[in-house]
Amino acid sequence: MDALSMGGYGAYVWTCYALGAGVLVVCEWRARLRHRRVYREIEVRIKALGDNQ
Amino acid sequence: MTAKLSADGLTLFRGERCLFQGLSFALNPGELLLLEGRNGSGKTSLMRAIAGLIEFEDGDVLWEGKPIRTNRPDFYGSVVWMQHRVGFKADLTLVENLRFESHLRAQSGADLDVVLKRLDIDRLKRLPLRSLSAGQQRRVALARMLLSSVPLWLMDEPFTNLDREGRALVMDLTTEHLSKGGMCIMAAHQDVEIGGNVTKIELK
Protein backbone atom coordinates (compact mmCIF):
# COMPACT_ATOMS: atom_id res chain seq x y z
CA MET A 1 0.00 0.00 0.00
CA ASP A 2 2.92 2.29 0.79
CA ALA A 3 4.27 1.89 -2.71
CA LEU A 4 0.90 2.87 -4.19
CA SER A 5 0.45 6.01 -2.13
CA MET A 6 3.86 7.36 -3.25
CA GLY A 7 4.30 9.43 -0.15
CA GLY A 8 1.01 11.22 -0.72
CA TYR A 9 1.71 11.95 -4.39
CA GLY A 10 0.11 8.70 -5.58
CA ALA A 11 -2.77 10.29 -7.47
CA TYR A 12 -0.43 12.53 -9.46
CA VAL A 13 2.16 9.87 -10.21
CA TRP A 14 -0.27 7.13 -11.20
CA THR A 15 -2.31 9.50 -13.38
CA CYS A 16 0.83 10.37 -15.30
CA TYR A 17 1.81 6.76 -15.89
CA ALA A 18 -1.75 5.96 -16.93
CA LEU A 19 -1.70 8.89 -19.34
CA GLY A 20 1.60 7.69 -20.75
CA ALA A 21 0.26 4.22 -21.35
CA GLY A 22 -2.96 5.72 -22.71
CA VAL A 23 -1.18 7.86 -25.29
CA LEU A 24 0.88 4.91 -26.52
CA VAL A 25 -2.24 2.76 -26.85
CA VAL A 26 -4.23 5.49 -28.59
CA CYS A 27 -1.42 6.13 -31.08
CA GLU A 28 -1.16 2.45 -31.91
CA TRP A 29 -4.92 2.11 -32.20
CA ARG A 30 -5.27 5.21 -34.43
CA ALA A 31 -2.51 3.96 -36.71
CA ARG A 32 -4.13 0.54 -37.07
CA LEU A 33 -7.56 2.10 -37.58
CA ARG A 34 -6.26 4.34 -40.36
CA HIS A 35 -4.57 1.42 -42.06
CA ARG A 36 -7.71 -0.69 -41.87
CA ARG A 37 -9.89 2.11 -43.23
CA VAL A 38 -7.61 2.78 -46.18
CA TYR A 39 -7.37 -0.92 -46.91
CA ARG A 40 -11.15 -1.39 -46.84
CA GLU A 41 -11.71 1.62 -49.07
CA ILE A 42 -9.32 0.30 -51.70
CA GLU A 43 -10.78 -3.18 -51.44
CA VAL A 44 -14.31 -1.90 -51.99
CA ARG A 45 -13.24 0.22 -54.95
CA ILE A 46 -11.36 -2.61 -56.62
CA LYS A 47 -14.32 -4.96 -56.22
CA ALA A 48 -16.72 -2.33 -57.59
CA LEU A 49 -14.49 -1.66 -60.59
CA GLY A 50 -14.18 -5.40 -61.14
CA ASP A 51 -17.94 -5.65 -61.51
CA ASN A 52 -18.04 -2.87 -64.05
CA GLN A 53 -15.43 -4.33 -66.31
CA MET B 1 19.08 19.84 -83.87
CA THR B 2 17.16 20.40 -80.69
CA ALA B 3 13.87 22.17 -81.07
CA LYS B 4 13.37 25.52 -79.37
CA LEU B 5 10.57 24.07 -77.25
CA SER B 6 9.98 20.36 -76.97
CA ALA B 7 8.24 17.88 -74.78
CA ASP B 8 8.61 14.18 -74.36
CA GLY B 9 6.38 11.64 -72.68
CA LEU B 10 4.14 14.08 -70.84
CA THR B 11 1.63 12.57 -68.46
CA LEU B 12 -0.82 14.64 -66.47
CA PHE B 13 -3.34 13.80 -63.81
CA ARG B 14 -5.93 16.16 -62.45
CA GLY B 15 -7.28 14.73 -59.23
CA GLU B 16 -7.98 11.09 -59.98
CA ARG B 17 -8.31 11.43 -63.73
CA CYS B 18 -5.53 10.83 -66.25
CA LEU B 19 -5.82 13.59 -68.87
CA PHE B 20 -3.18 12.27 -71.23
CA GLN B 21 -0.21 9.99 -71.26
CA GLY B 22 3.03 9.98 -73.23
CA LEU B 23 2.32 13.22 -75.08
CA SER B 24 5.18 14.64 -77.15
CA PHE B 25 5.66 17.68 -79.36
CA ALA B 26 8.29 20.01 -80.74
CA LEU B 27 8.06 23.67 -81.66
CA ASN B 28 10.44 25.87 -83.64
CA PRO B 29 10.42 29.53 -84.69
CA GLY B 30 7.57 30.34 -87.07
CA GLU B 31 5.47 27.41 -85.91
CA LEU B 32 2.08 27.18 -84.26
CA LEU B 33 1.03 24.34 -82.01
CA LEU B 34 -2.72 24.03 -81.88
CA LEU B 35 -4.33 22.07 -79.06
CA GLU B 36 -7.81 20.94 -79.98
CA GLY B 37 -10.49 19.18 -78.04
CA ARG B 38 -13.85 19.75 -76.46
CA ASN B 39 -14.33 21.58 -73.22
CA GLY B 40 -13.04 19.59 -70.29
CA SER B 41 -10.59 17.58 -72.38
CA GLY B 42 -7.63 18.99 -70.49
CA LYS B 43 -6.50 21.73 -72.87
CA THR B 44 -6.32 24.30 -70.13
CA SER B 45 -4.48 21.93 -67.81
CA LEU B 46 -1.98 21.16 -70.55
CA MET B 47 -1.48 24.85 -71.24
CA ARG B 48 -0.99 25.59 -67.55
CA ALA B 49 1.45 22.71 -67.28
CA ILE B 50 3.46 23.92 -70.28
CA ALA B 51 3.56 27.34 -68.63
CA GLY B 52 5.02 25.61 -65.56
CA LEU B 53 2.02 26.46 -63.38
CA ILE B 54 1.16 22.85 -62.60
CA GLU B 55 3.40 19.84 -62.49
CA PHE B 56 3.38 16.92 -64.87
CA GLU B 57 3.11 13.49 -63.34
CA ASP B 58 5.80 12.38 -65.74
CA GLY B 59 7.90 13.90 -68.52
CA ASP B 60 9.45 17.32 -69.00
CA VAL B 61 8.97 20.35 -71.20
CA LEU B 62 12.33 21.52 -72.52
CA TRP B 63 13.21 25.06 -73.54
CA GLU B 64 16.35 25.09 -75.70
CA GLY B 65 17.02 21.57 -74.50
CA LYS B 66 16.82 22.33 -70.79
CA PRO B 67 13.88 21.39 -68.55
CA ILE B 68 11.88 24.50 -67.68
CA ARG B 69 11.32 23.23 -64.17
CA THR B 70 14.95 23.93 -63.36
CA ASN B 71 15.44 26.89 -65.71
CA ARG B 72 12.40 29.01 -65.01
CA PRO B 73 13.98 32.46 -65.51
CA ASP B 74 15.33 31.48 -68.98
CA PHE B 75 11.98 30.14 -70.09
CA TYR B 76 9.83 32.82 -68.53
CA GLY B 77 12.00 35.50 -70.11
CA SER B 78 10.74 34.26 -73.48
CA VAL B 79 7.06 33.70 -72.77
CA VAL B 80 3.89 35.65 -72.45
CA TRP B 81 0.81 33.91 -71.11
CA MET B 82 -2.80 34.67 -71.97
CA GLN B 83 -5.64 32.87 -70.31
CA HIS B 84 -9.27 33.17 -69.47
CA ARG B 85 -8.73 35.33 -66.40
CA VAL B 86 -6.90 38.20 -68.05
CA GLY B 87 -4.70 39.03 -65.07
CA PHE B 88 -5.42 42.73 -64.84
CA LYS B 89 -6.55 44.78 -61.89
CA ALA B 90 -10.16 45.86 -62.22
CA ASP B 91 -9.56 49.05 -60.24
CA LEU B 92 -6.66 50.27 -62.35
CA THR B 93 -7.03 51.96 -65.70
CA LEU B 94 -6.04 50.32 -68.92
CA VAL B 95 -2.83 52.32 -69.15
CA GLU B 96 -1.91 51.73 -65.49
CA ASN B 97 -2.36 48.00 -66.00
CA LEU B 98 -0.21 47.91 -69.12
CA ARG B 99 2.44 50.08 -67.54
CA PHE B 100 2.84 47.50 -64.76
CA GLU B 101 3.66 44.89 -67.42
CA SER B 102 7.04 46.50 -68.00
CA HIS B 103 8.04 45.35 -64.50
CA LEU B 104 7.24 41.74 -65.35
CA ARG B 105 8.80 41.14 -68.76
CA ALA B 106 10.90 42.69 -71.48
CA GLN B 107 9.04 45.22 -73.62
CA SER B 108 9.41 45.65 -77.36
CA GLY B 109 9.31 49.42 -77.12
CA ALA B 110 6.34 49.53 -79.49
CA ASP B 111 4.32 52.72 -79.24
CA LEU B 112 1.41 52.24 -76.87
CA ASP B 113 -0.99 54.44 -78.83
CA VAL B 114 -0.30 52.63 -82.09
CA VAL B 115 -0.88 49.25 -80.47
CA LEU B 116 -4.11 50.38 -78.79
CA LYS B 117 -5.36 51.93 -82.03
CA ARG B 118 -4.72 48.72 -83.90
CA LEU B 119 -6.72 46.81 -81.25
CA ASP B 120 -9.42 49.47 -81.38
CA ILE B 121 -9.29 50.20 -77.65
CA ASP B 122 -7.46 53.54 -77.75
CA ARG B 123 -10.61 55.41 -76.63
CA LEU B 124 -10.70 53.37 -73.41
CA LYS B 125 -7.22 54.33 -72.23
CA ARG B 126 -8.24 56.22 -69.11
CA LEU B 127 -11.04 53.92 -68.00
CA PRO B 128 -10.69 51.50 -65.11
CA LEU B 129 -10.69 47.96 -66.38
CA ARG B 130 -13.87 47.04 -64.54
CA SER B 131 -15.87 49.30 -66.87
CA LEU B 132 -14.65 47.45 -69.97
CA SER B 133 -16.61 44.60 -71.52
CA ALA B 134 -15.20 41.09 -71.45
CA GLY B 135 -14.30 41.35 -75.12
CA GLN B 136 -12.52 44.65 -74.58
CA GLN B 137 -10.58 43.14 -71.70
CA ARG B 138 -9.43 40.36 -74.02
CA ARG B 139 -8.15 43.02 -76.37
CA VAL B 140 -6.15 44.57 -73.54
CA ALA B 141 -4.64 41.15 -72.95
CA LEU B 142 -3.66 41.13 -76.63
CA ALA B 143 -2.03 44.52 -76.12
CA ARG B 144 0.09 42.93 -73.40
CA MET B 145 1.38 40.40 -75.94
CA LEU B 146 2.07 43.00 -78.62
CA LEU B 147 3.92 45.28 -76.21
CA SER B 148 6.20 42.53 -75.00
CA SER B 149 9.22 41.38 -76.95
CA VAL B 150 9.11 37.64 -76.30
CA PRO B 151 9.14 34.88 -78.92
CA LEU B 152 6.65 32.43 -77.41
CA TRP B 153 2.96 33.19 -77.04
CA LEU B 154 0.91 30.84 -74.89
CA MET B 155 -2.78 31.45 -75.56
CA ASP B 156 -5.50 29.56 -73.77
CA GLU B 157 -8.84 29.98 -75.58
CA PRO B 158 -7.92 33.37 -77.07
CA PHE B 159 -11.24 33.64 -78.95
CA THR B 160 -13.50 33.53 -75.92
CA ASN B 161 -15.74 36.61 -75.59
CA LEU B 162 -14.58 38.03 -78.94
CA ASP B 163 -16.81 38.86 -81.87
CA ARG B 164 -16.03 37.83 -85.45
CA GLU B 165 -13.92 40.92 -85.98
CA GLY B 166 -11.98 40.22 -82.79
CA ARG B 167 -11.36 36.61 -83.75
CA ALA B 168 -10.02 37.70 -87.13
CA LEU B 169 -7.77 40.17 -85.33
CA VAL B 170 -6.32 37.42 -83.10
CA MET B 171 -5.61 35.26 -86.16
CA ASP B 172 -4.00 38.16 -88.04
CA LEU B 173 -1.80 39.08 -85.10
CA THR B 174 -0.73 35.49 -84.58
CA THR B 175 0.08 35.01 -88.27
CA GLU B 176 2.11 38.19 -88.16
CA HIS B 177 3.94 37.04 -85.01
CA LEU B 178 4.77 33.69 -86.62
CA SER B 179 6.00 35.33 -89.80
CA LYS B 180 8.45 37.35 -87.73
CA GLY B 181 9.92 34.12 -86.35
CA GLY B 182 7.74 33.94 -83.27
CA MET B 183 6.14 30.82 -81.84
CA CYS B 184 2.70 30.18 -80.50
CA ILE B 185 0.86 27.49 -78.60
CA MET B 186 -2.88 27.94 -78.74
CA ALA B 187 -5.70 25.99 -77.19
CA ALA B 188 -9.00 26.47 -78.98
CA HIS B 189 -12.23 24.64 -79.62
CA GLN B 190 -13.20 26.74 -82.63
CA ASP B 191 -11.85 26.52 -86.16
CA VAL B 192 -8.66 28.45 -86.47
CA GLU B 193 -7.42 29.89 -89.76
CA ILE B 194 -3.82 30.82 -89.35
CA GLY B 195 -1.35 30.73 -92.20
CA GLY B 196 2.01 29.09 -91.71
CA ASN B 197 3.40 26.02 -90.10
CA VAL B 198 0.67 24.51 -87.92
CA THR B 199 0.91 21.33 -85.87
CA LYS B 200 -2.25 20.01 -84.29
CA ILE B 201 -2.69 17.93 -81.15
CA GLU B 202 -6.11 16.49 -80.53
CA LEU B 203 -7.00 15.86 -76.89
CA LYS B 204 -9.77 13.44 -76.10
Binding site: A3, M6, G7, G8, Y9, G10, Y12, V13, T15, C16, Y17, L19, G20, V23, L24, V26, C27, E28, R30, A31, R32, R34, H35, V38, Y39, E41, I42, E43, R45, I46 | G15, E16, E55
Partner: protein, 248 residues
Protein backbone atom coordinates in the same frame (compact mmCIF):
# COMPACT_ATOMS: atom_id res chain seq x y z
CA UNK C 1 24.44 2.36 -49.89
CA UNK C 2 22.52 4.54 -52.36
CA UNK C 3 20.93 1.50 -53.86
CA UNK C 4 19.80 0.39 -50.42
CA UNK C 5 18.24 3.77 -49.65
CA UNK C 6 16.61 3.92 -53.04
CA UNK C 7 15.16 0.48 -52.58
CA UNK C 8 13.92 1.30 -49.10
CA UNK C 9 12.24 4.44 -50.42
CA UNK C 10 10.31 2.47 -53.02
CA UNK C 11 6.76 2.26 -51.65
CA UNK C 12 6.01 -1.44 -52.33
CA UNK C 13 9.30 -2.50 -50.80
CA UNK C 14 8.80 -0.31 -47.78
CA UNK C 15 5.26 -1.57 -47.37
CA UNK C 16 6.46 -5.18 -47.39
CA UNK C 17 9.35 -4.87 -44.99
CA UNK C 18 7.87 -2.33 -42.54
CA UNK C 19 6.13 -4.92 -40.30
CA UNK C 20 9.45 -6.61 -39.58
CA UNK C 21 10.99 -3.26 -38.62
CA UNK C 22 7.98 -2.45 -36.46
CA UNK C 23 8.47 -5.68 -34.53
CA UNK C 24 12.18 -5.10 -34.09
CA UNK C 25 11.54 -1.63 -32.70
CA UNK C 26 8.44 -2.32 -30.64
CA UNK C 27 9.61 -5.39 -28.73
CA UNK C 28 12.85 -3.96 -27.28
CA UNK C 29 11.13 -0.60 -26.83
CA UNK C 30 8.33 -2.07 -24.76
CA UNK C 31 10.80 -4.13 -22.73
CA UNK C 32 12.82 -1.01 -21.96
CA UNK C 33 9.66 0.87 -20.98
CA UNK C 34 8.62 -2.00 -18.73
CA UNK C 35 11.99 -1.99 -17.00
CA UNK C 36 12.01 1.82 -16.78
CA UNK C 37 8.53 1.93 -15.31
CA UNK C 38 9.30 -0.70 -12.70
CA UNK C 39 12.67 0.77 -11.74
CA UNK C 40 11.39 4.31 -11.88
CA UNK C 41 8.42 3.65 -9.67
CA UNK C 42 9.83 1.21 -7.15
CA UNK C 43 13.63 1.03 -7.33
CA UNK C 44 14.85 4.58 -7.82
CA UNK C 45 15.31 6.40 -4.51
CA UNK C 46 13.02 9.25 -3.59
CA UNK C 47 14.14 12.77 -4.46
CA UNK C 48 14.72 14.56 -1.15
CA UNK C 49 13.23 17.82 -2.44
CA UNK C 50 10.32 16.62 -4.54
CA UNK C 51 9.52 13.36 -2.80
CA UNK C 52 7.90 10.69 -4.92
CA UNK C 53 6.38 13.27 -7.29
CA UNK C 54 9.68 13.38 -9.14
CA UNK C 55 8.85 9.93 -10.57
CA UNK C 56 6.64 11.77 -13.07
CA UNK C 57 9.75 12.85 -14.97
CA UNK C 58 10.13 9.28 -16.22
CA UNK C 59 7.10 9.99 -18.43
CA UNK C 60 7.49 13.73 -18.83
CA UNK C 61 11.07 13.92 -20.05
CA UNK C 62 10.81 11.24 -22.77
CA UNK C 63 7.57 12.71 -24.11
CA UNK C 64 8.95 16.27 -24.08
CA UNK C 65 12.03 15.04 -25.89
CA UNK C 66 9.93 13.18 -28.46
CA UNK C 67 7.71 16.17 -29.11
CA UNK C 68 10.80 18.06 -30.30
CA UNK C 69 12.21 15.01 -32.06
CA UNK C 70 8.97 14.45 -33.98
CA UNK C 71 8.98 18.05 -35.18
CA UNK C 72 12.55 17.64 -36.36
CA UNK C 73 11.73 14.41 -38.19
CA UNK C 74 8.72 16.11 -39.72
CA UNK C 75 10.65 19.17 -40.89
CA UNK C 76 13.65 17.23 -42.21
CA UNK C 77 11.58 14.72 -44.14
CA UNK C 78 9.32 17.50 -45.45
CA UNK C 79 12.43 19.30 -46.67
CA UNK C 80 13.76 16.16 -48.32
CA UNK C 81 10.39 15.60 -49.97
CA UNK C 82 10.26 19.17 -51.22
CA UNK C 83 13.78 19.23 -52.61
CA UNK C 84 14.30 15.70 -53.92
CA UNK C 85 10.65 14.87 -54.56
CA UNK C 86 10.75 11.60 -52.66
CA UNK C 87 7.15 10.62 -52.03
CA UNK C 88 7.95 8.40 -49.07
CA UNK C 89 9.44 11.29 -47.12
CA UNK C 90 6.24 13.31 -47.48
CA UNK C 91 4.41 10.30 -46.07
CA UNK C 92 6.82 10.31 -43.11
CA UNK C 93 6.16 14.00 -42.48
CA UNK C 94 2.41 13.44 -42.64
CA UNK C 95 2.67 10.55 -40.19
CA UNK C 96 4.99 12.31 -37.74
CA UNK C 97 2.66 15.27 -37.11
CA UNK C 98 -0.20 13.56 -35.22
CA UNK C 99 2.26 11.47 -33.22
CA UNK C 100 4.23 14.56 -32.32
CA UNK C 101 1.03 16.28 -31.25
CA UNK C 102 0.10 13.35 -29.00
CA UNK C 103 3.49 13.30 -27.31
CA UNK C 104 3.39 17.08 -26.91
CA UNK C 105 0.02 16.68 -25.26
CA UNK C 106 1.50 14.03 -22.97
CA UNK C 107 4.41 16.28 -22.04
CA UNK C 108 2.02 19.14 -21.29
CA UNK C 109 -0.34 16.99 -19.23
CA UNK C 110 2.40 15.36 -17.17
CA UNK C 111 4.20 18.68 -16.73
CA UNK C 112 1.04 20.25 -15.48
CA UNK C 113 0.27 17.35 -13.12
CA UNK C 114 3.84 17.51 -11.82
CA UNK C 115 3.40 21.25 -11.29
CA UNK C 116 0.35 20.91 -9.08
CA UNK C 117 2.12 19.47 -6.01
CA UNK C 118 5.35 21.38 -6.80
CA UNK C 119 4.02 24.89 -7.47
CA UNK C 120 0.52 24.52 -6.13
CA UNK C 121 -1.05 25.37 -9.51
CA UNK C 122 -1.97 23.28 -12.51
CA UNK C 123 -0.48 25.82 -14.85
CA UNK C 124 2.54 28.02 -14.26
CA UNK C 125 3.25 30.57 -17.02
CA UNK C 126 6.58 31.19 -15.39
CA UNK C 127 7.95 27.88 -16.56
CA UNK C 128 9.47 28.33 -20.01
CA UNK C 129 9.44 24.64 -20.87
CA UNK C 130 5.71 24.23 -20.41
CA UNK C 131 5.02 27.41 -22.33
CA UNK C 132 7.27 26.24 -25.18
CA UNK C 133 5.47 22.92 -25.27
CA UNK C 134 2.15 24.72 -25.51
CA UNK C 135 3.32 26.76 -28.50
CA UNK C 136 4.70 23.54 -29.96
CA UNK C 137 1.24 22.00 -29.72
CA UNK C 138 -0.18 25.01 -31.60
CA UNK C 139 2.45 24.53 -34.29
CA UNK C 140 1.39 20.90 -34.73
CA UNK C 141 -2.27 21.95 -34.87
CA UNK C 142 -1.48 24.51 -37.56
CA UNK C 143 0.42 21.95 -39.61
CA UNK C 144 -2.35 19.37 -39.40
CA UNK C 145 -5.04 21.96 -40.09
CA UNK C 146 -3.25 23.08 -43.26
CA UNK C 147 -2.93 19.48 -44.41
CA UNK C 148 -6.59 18.87 -43.68
CA UNK C 149 -7.70 21.95 -45.60
CA UNK C 150 -6.10 20.88 -48.90
CA UNK C 151 -7.80 18.03 -50.74
CA UNK C 152 -5.08 17.18 -53.22
CA UNK C 153 -2.44 15.04 -51.47
CA UNK C 154 0.50 16.23 -53.55
CA UNK C 155 -0.41 19.86 -53.00
CA UNK C 156 -1.01 19.30 -49.28
CA UNK C 157 2.42 17.65 -49.05
CA UNK C 158 4.21 20.58 -50.60
CA UNK C 159 2.31 23.36 -48.83
CA UNK C 160 2.67 21.74 -45.42
CA UNK C 161 6.36 21.13 -46.10
CA UNK C 162 6.89 24.87 -46.54
CA UNK C 163 5.09 25.46 -43.25
CA UNK C 164 7.12 22.77 -41.45
CA UNK C 165 10.38 24.34 -42.63
CA UNK C 166 9.33 27.84 -41.62
CA UNK C 167 8.26 26.40 -38.27
CA UNK C 168 11.60 24.65 -37.86
CA UNK C 169 13.43 27.95 -38.29
CA UNK C 170 11.15 29.45 -35.66
CA UNK C 171 11.18 26.72 -33.02
CA UNK C 172 14.58 27.66 -31.51
CA UNK C 173 13.61 31.33 -31.61
CA UNK C 174 10.31 30.65 -29.87
CA UNK C 175 12.21 28.65 -27.29
CA UNK C 176 14.69 31.44 -26.74
CA UNK C 177 12.07 34.17 -26.51
CA UNK C 178 9.96 32.21 -24.02
CA UNK C 179 13.12 31.62 -21.99
CA UNK C 180 13.86 35.36 -21.97
CA UNK C 181 10.28 36.21 -21.15
CA UNK C 182 10.07 33.94 -18.13
CA UNK C 183 13.45 35.04 -16.81
CA UNK C 184 11.84 38.44 -16.17
CA UNK C 185 9.13 36.86 -14.13
CA UNK C 186 9.53 36.85 -10.35
CA UNK C 187 7.30 33.87 -9.77
CA UNK C 188 7.67 30.79 -7.63
CA UNK C 189 11.11 29.26 -7.77
CA UNK C 190 11.20 26.47 -10.26
CA UNK C 191 12.85 23.29 -9.18
CA UNK C 192 14.99 21.89 -11.94
CA UNK C 193 13.97 18.43 -13.04
CA UNK C 194 17.05 16.45 -12.20
CA UNK C 195 20.37 18.26 -12.07
CA UNK C 196 23.62 17.04 -13.60
CA UNK C 197 24.49 15.26 -10.35
CA UNK C 198 21.83 12.59 -10.57
CA UNK C 199 22.02 9.36 -8.71
CA UNK C 200 22.73 6.38 -10.96
CA UNK C 201 19.70 4.54 -9.62
CA UNK C 202 17.60 7.52 -10.70
CA UNK C 203 19.38 8.03 -14.02
CA UNK C 204 19.29 4.52 -15.50
CA UNK C 205 15.51 4.19 -15.47
CA UNK C 206 15.30 7.62 -17.14
CA UNK C 207 17.72 6.61 -19.89
CA UNK C 208 15.82 3.35 -20.35
CA UNK C 209 12.55 5.26 -20.63
CA UNK C 210 13.96 7.74 -23.16
CA UNK C 211 15.37 4.98 -25.32
CA UNK C 212 12.28 2.82 -24.94
CA UNK C 213 9.91 5.68 -25.84
CA UNK C 214 12.07 6.50 -28.86
CA UNK C 215 11.96 2.93 -30.14
CA UNK C 216 8.22 2.65 -29.62
CA UNK C 217 7.81 6.02 -31.30
CA UNK C 218 9.75 4.63 -34.26
CA UNK C 219 7.41 1.66 -34.42
CA UNK C 220 4.32 3.87 -34.24
CA UNK C 221 5.75 6.14 -36.91
CA UNK C 222 6.42 3.24 -39.25
CA UNK C 223 2.92 1.91 -38.74
CA UNK C 224 1.42 5.29 -39.61
CA UNK C 225 3.73 5.72 -42.59
CA UNK C 226 2.64 2.33 -43.82
CA UNK C 227 -1.00 3.39 -43.77
CA UNK C 228 -0.05 6.66 -45.50
CA UNK C 229 1.86 4.79 -48.20
CA UNK C 230 -1.08 2.51 -48.83
CA UNK C 231 -3.38 5.52 -49.22
CA UNK C 232 -1.03 7.37 -51.53
CA UNK C 233 -0.41 4.32 -53.71
CA UNK C 234 -4.06 3.31 -53.89
CA UNK C 235 -4.19 3.69 -57.68
CA UNK C 236 -1.10 1.62 -58.41
CA UNK C 237 -0.94 -1.87 -59.74
CA UNK C 238 1.04 -3.33 -56.84
CA UNK C 239 -1.61 -2.32 -54.32
CA UNK C 240 -4.34 -3.77 -56.52
CA UNK C 241 -2.49 -7.03 -56.94
CA UNK C 242 -1.69 -7.22 -53.26
CA UNK C 243 -5.28 -6.68 -52.21
CA UNK C 244 -6.65 -9.09 -54.79
CA UNK C 245 -4.19 -11.66 -53.47
CA UNK C 246 -5.56 -11.00 -49.99
CA UNK C 247 -2.28 -9.63 -48.67
CA UNK C 248 -2.05 -7.31 -45.73
Amino acid sequence: MWKFIHQLASPPHFYRIAPAFIRWLAVPGLLLIAYGTYAGLFVAPMDYQQGDAFRIIYIHVPSAYLSMMAYMIMAVSAGIGLIWRIKLSHAVAAAAAPLGAWFTFLALATGSIWGKPMWGTWWEWGDPRLTSELIMLFLYFGYMALRGAIDDTAKADKASAVLALVGAVNVPIIHFSVEWWSSLHQGPTIIKEGGPAMDAAMLYPLLAMILGFTLVFGALLLRRVRAEVLYRERRTRWVKEMILAGGN
